[in-house]
Amino acid sequence: MKHTLRQIFRSGKFVFGFSIFVGILLIVIIYPLIITNHPLEIVGQGTFFPPGVYVNVYDSLGSTSYTLMLEDAAAKRIASKLSEGDRTAIKEWLVKAGIPEGEIDTADTEKLLDQWVNNYDPNKNIPGMTNAKRNYFIRLNNSLKGLLSTEGVSIAVKNTETGALEESDFVGQSEYVNVSQVASVRVLPLGTDNFGRDVLTELVAATRVSLQIGFVAGTIATLIGLALGLLAGYVGGLVDDIIMFITNLFTVIPTFVLLILISFSIGQDKRGPFAIAVVIGLTAWFWTARAVRAQVISLRNRDHVNLSKLSGHSIAHIIIADILPYIASYVVMALILQISAGILAEAGLSILGLGPRTTEVPTLGLMMNWAMIYQAQILGKWWAYFPVIVVIALIAFSLNLMNTGLDQVFNPALRD
């Protein structure tokens, strides 16, 4: 036993997969202890805020301000206002207005703006330009006004009695606040989703729930499969025929369709994560049953089983002591695969909108479902779905790697 364990942990594949899996588990356990926000709390008024550090503007006005003389500050400010699309548009207009293309450099912000300010005339008639395009250039021009200004901004407060605006503060262009001194800062490493929820916090919670669903579904499937496989394989005869009939029936029906039908018939309000896990488990046991049966049939005529019979042991004792230990490694491997399959099945169901009801807990599948409904993939809001895919892939990858590693240990023919 100890020897086998040592051998398992000497298998590179197993250790690699195991490390990834334990890493995921640790994050899932430790993260909620540090970040105690509710995973479904809506923090953003709006959809899909990009990942980043969110600094409260009002609080930063109130924080100590420092003056830093940074040479590139102005250039950066202008550059951040002027997108790549705006630059090409400006170039397009300038070329049409008769400036030689060689003289225009979209990368040189200051020169480009200079050329624009000197040449742009909203009334200039450029042949072949649509009205919509003309209006776009007028808007662009307005947004660029004041970009080259070196003045600061005044903060004014409304006098409660007179209603007049009174300047309360003035922010110069070289003033800085220290982020760590701003009262309210929120880091959203993966931004927010369509509901305005913190994606990372939600993702961790979803991973935990999905793992639980996987464990429950995998355990149910493995236990049922093991029990029926042992019974069919060892007892044989009519019992075997009946069990194999049911198993074959399940094998020919596409399970996922079955899963969809059952989930659908349960109804949205009764579909908690646990119910979904049970349904997945109930439709996944037959592979294990088949495999266990085959193993038991090859074991039941072995001499050590015969010797156990001759020693007067009961069927129960023989199954537990003389059959189970021989297939234990196999069952562990089946369990690992079933867990992985359970997590994927939940994701598949949820993407179709047949997963657990959406109000209580997130799951990896539900996050994918939400991202898809709100077209995150079309809008390019990668943070709403890509991390979810990565987590699903990592879990499946690590579990399958552990399985391959175990296979190599238990199956000497596969050792490299």
Partner: protein
């Protein structure tokens, strides 16, 4: 044949068919067999002739397709677990391959304790159990102190087969079915194993069915011999009759494979 002795085990028309249709194999084909108290009989045949299948039917480990088995004059009844257990107190076996005969997850102690428990010793104080196990081990020249808490696969093939004999020593069955007990172990251990079997037979007055592919060995150990070919007994009788005056060509062929039968199995040297 000693008439006054009790007929222990007999079989008539015993048949075993595996599979059906095209894959049908008739492993044992209408076999009759009589085993009297205290006797040693040998079943001799080439590999695949159905010896092990016959043994398993006699042991009640597999079902029979056809035919009856009588035990001590009555038709054998092993329909319930209790009846089977009772039957197996009387008939035990040693299998061909010691390496697959043991549950690799059980310690040697478990193997031997099972036998003590089967003989009604479940409530014995542990010291008494150790005493019994030590006695059984020393009978086969093993030291229980060295074996305790070890696993059978830590032993050599010969030692494992000796442990099997120790098991029989504890169980003291009326009949022992030894299915090629020496064919998978090294030549040096063979004579020792056979010797121990014969000694055990004397000690507890056991009746033995000895299965072998080696006709010379059969001559050495047995009173009567059954020659088996393709599931049928083609010739049977006293060891002297069958082996010294064979009638069937199959028997003669088996004998030709052991040309130096008289020198090799000189009774005094083994």
């Amino acid at each position: 044949m000693p008439v006054e002795k009790e007929l222990y085990l007999s079989a008539s028309g015993l048949t075993k068919v595996f599979g059906f249709g095209r894959q049908k194999t008739v492993a044992v084909d209408h076999v009759d067999l009589n085993l009297y108290e205290g006797e040693v009989i040998s079943i001799v045949g080439e590999s695949g002739s159905g010896k092990t299948t016959l043994a398993k039917m006699l042991l009640g480990l597999i079902s029979t397709t056809e035919g009856d088995i009588y035990f001590q004059g009555k038709k054998r009844d092993i329909s319930t677990h209790r009846k089977k257990k009772e039957y197996w107190k009387n008939i035990q076996a040693i299998f061909q391959d010691p390496f697959s005969s043991y549950n690799i997850f059980n310690k040697i102690d478990t193997v031997l304790l099972d036998c003590i428990h089967m003989r009604g010793g479940r409530k014995f104080p542990y010291a008494k159990k150790v005493e019994l196990m030590t006695e059984a081990c020393s009978f086969v020249n093993l030291k229980f102190e060295e074996l305790t808490n070890k696993y059978p696969f830590e032993l050599s093939g010969g030692q494992m087969q000796r442990l099997m004999i120790a098991r029989i020593f504890l169980l003291k069955p009326k009949i022992l079915l030894a299915d090629e007990p020496t064919s998978m172990i090294d030549a040096c251990s063979r004579a020792t194993i056979l010797d121990m079997l014969m000694q055990l037979r004397k000690e507890i007055g056991m009746t033995i069915i000895f299965i072998t592919h080696d006709i010379g060995l059969a001559y050495y150990v047995s009173d009567s011999v059954y020659i088996m070919e393709h599931g049928k007994f083609v010739e049977s009788g006293s060891a002297d009759d069958v082996i010294l005056r064979p009638k069937e060509p199959y028997t003669k062929r088996l004998l030709n494979d052991v040309p130096k039968i008289y020198e090799e199995w000189d009774l005094s040297t083994v």
